[in-house]
């Protein structure tokens, strides 16, 4: 039962981050600020969700898989954000 409460709190907090990130994508004016909202919020949000779910995992192997998913998503999101940002900067340079 305490584990359920921890899960609810952590996953709830994670959803808040996802909500904020989504609002940022829709509301922020240009690519770089949108990227900022997306990567920061989603990485922390996913981390909170994973931590929350880890309290429901039946064994340590499942926790390991969850952590691996988070690590992979972090690396992929970080790399993609860098690439999108560089492409956006190059487009800015050519349009000016």
């Amino acid at each position: 039962m305490p584990a359920d409460i921890v899960t609810l709190v952590l996953c709830g907090a994670g959803l808040v981050f996802f909500f904020a990130g989504t609002a940022g994508i829709i509301r922020f004016p240009d690519t770089l600020t949108r990227l900022h909202a997306l990567t920061k919020a989603d990485n922390v949000g996913l981390g909170l969700l994973i931590t929350g779910l880890a309290f429901q995992a039946p064994d340590w192997q499942s926790v390991g898989k969850l952590v691996l998913i988070w690590a992979m998503a972090l690396i992929a999101a970080g790399t993609t954000a860098q690439l999108v940002a560089r492409s956006a900067l190059q487009q800015q340079d050519t349009s000016q």
Partner: protein, 335 residues
């Protein structure tokens, strides 16, 4: 603890929301104005459909839909949109659809909509008029011991209905040959795909060095585990294709020459092994029939060869024809 009825209501609610989101994503994919947006919604639609398969307990189908339906088809479509954009100018597609709003184009759009609606209604009617039976589930379960594997999906795909899977792998190969036949003659000694501009010390090159070990392990694991758990040649092959594409995009290895005998051997290995096993089986009893005593090693052999062929075929489909300069007659022209 949540009691039974409450969790039932939660599950039904989730399913209803998921169904609404599938319909919404599909609708946006069809109605959104620009092509790139349509592709994005198509990918979102594929992810939702994969979730729906997960909810239905069809893990194998969910994996395939996520890897091939959303992932790989999405990449292919993005590549197609990029090539279309270069051909008609960046604003071309949008301006084109507005200028000829009430012409042959809109008539053909309405006709397409009507045909699609008719197909949907026919499929829905066929589904609803199905008798409420378990299909062949009992038959597969009864003969699972003779199949050599314990995952019923793999048993059906490679053993009981190997015919369909064999034809699927040949269709994939035919698609690649179709793509190759659209290359211009001038391009036929060049490496496929666009020229990559990844910096040797950049993030993409680092990503390309970091991910492949995990990707290779995961792709091979998916094929290996397919005999007892959800997974198989198509899902694992897609992961391996993605790893290969990533290494080429990161500039760590050049795309293969399509004229090389080695890459062509890899491309036909899967269908060839499958067909050979089937023909040998024809002498021993029935075409594509696997003798129960050797079924497991035969299935693993077929799956291994199929995985390599599928990975190579998918990667070469995504790479597409050579792009970039050295094109006298303008980009994207079919000969």
């Amino acid at each position: 603890m949540i009691d039974g009825t409450a969790s039932d209501i939660a599950a039904t609610g989730f399913d209803l929301v998921l169904a609404a989101m599938i319909l919404g994503a599909g609708l946006f994919a069809v109605t959104v104005r620009d092509l790139f947006g349509a592709v994005v919604f198509f990918i979102v639609y594929g992810v939702f459909v994969a979730l729906a398969w997960l909810r239905l307990g069809a893990l194998d189908v969910a994996l395939t839909e996520a890897a091939l339906g959303a992932g790989l088809t999405g990449v292919l479509l993005i590549g197609a949109v990029a090539r279309l954009g270069r051909r008609t100018g960046t604003q071309g597609t949008d301006a084109l659809s507005r200028r000829s709003a009430f012409s042959v184009r809109s008539v053909s759009q309405i006709a397409t909509m009507l045909v699609s609606a008719a197909v949907s209604v026919a499929l829905g009617w066929a589904f609803l008029s199905l008798s409420d039976s378990d299909g062949l589930r009992a038959g597969v379960a009864a003969n699972l011991d003779a199949s050599g594997v314990s995952n019923p999906v793999t048993a059906v795909l490679i053993n009981f209905r190997g015919w369909d899977t064999l034809l699927e792998s040949i269709v994939l190969l035919a698609a690649l040959i179709g793509l190759w036949s659209l290359w211009r003659d001038d391009d036929w000694g060049r490496r496929p795909g666009l020229r990559q501009h990844a910096r040797a010390d950049g993030v993409l090159a680092m990503f390309g060095r970091l991910l492949p070990p995990f990707g290779l392990l995961f792709g091979v694991y998916m094929v290996w585990v397919g005999s007892s758990l959800p997974g198989g040649a198509f899902q694992g092959g897609t992961v391996l294709a993605a790893v290969w594409l990533l290494m080429m995009m990161a500039g760590l290895m050049p795309p293969p020459m399509v004229t090389s005998a080695r890459i062509r051997a890899v491309l036909i290995a899967g269908p060839l092994v499958f067909l050979s096993v089937g023909i040998i089986g024809a002498f021993a009893g029935g075409f594509l029939g696997l003798p129960p005593a050797y079924a497991k090693p035969l299935i693993l052999m077929i799956e291994a060869a199929l995985t390599l062929s599928i990975a190579a075929t998918l990667a070469l489909l995504v790479l597409g024809p050579p792009g970039g300069p050295a094109m006298p007659s303008g980009p994207g022209d079919a000969p």
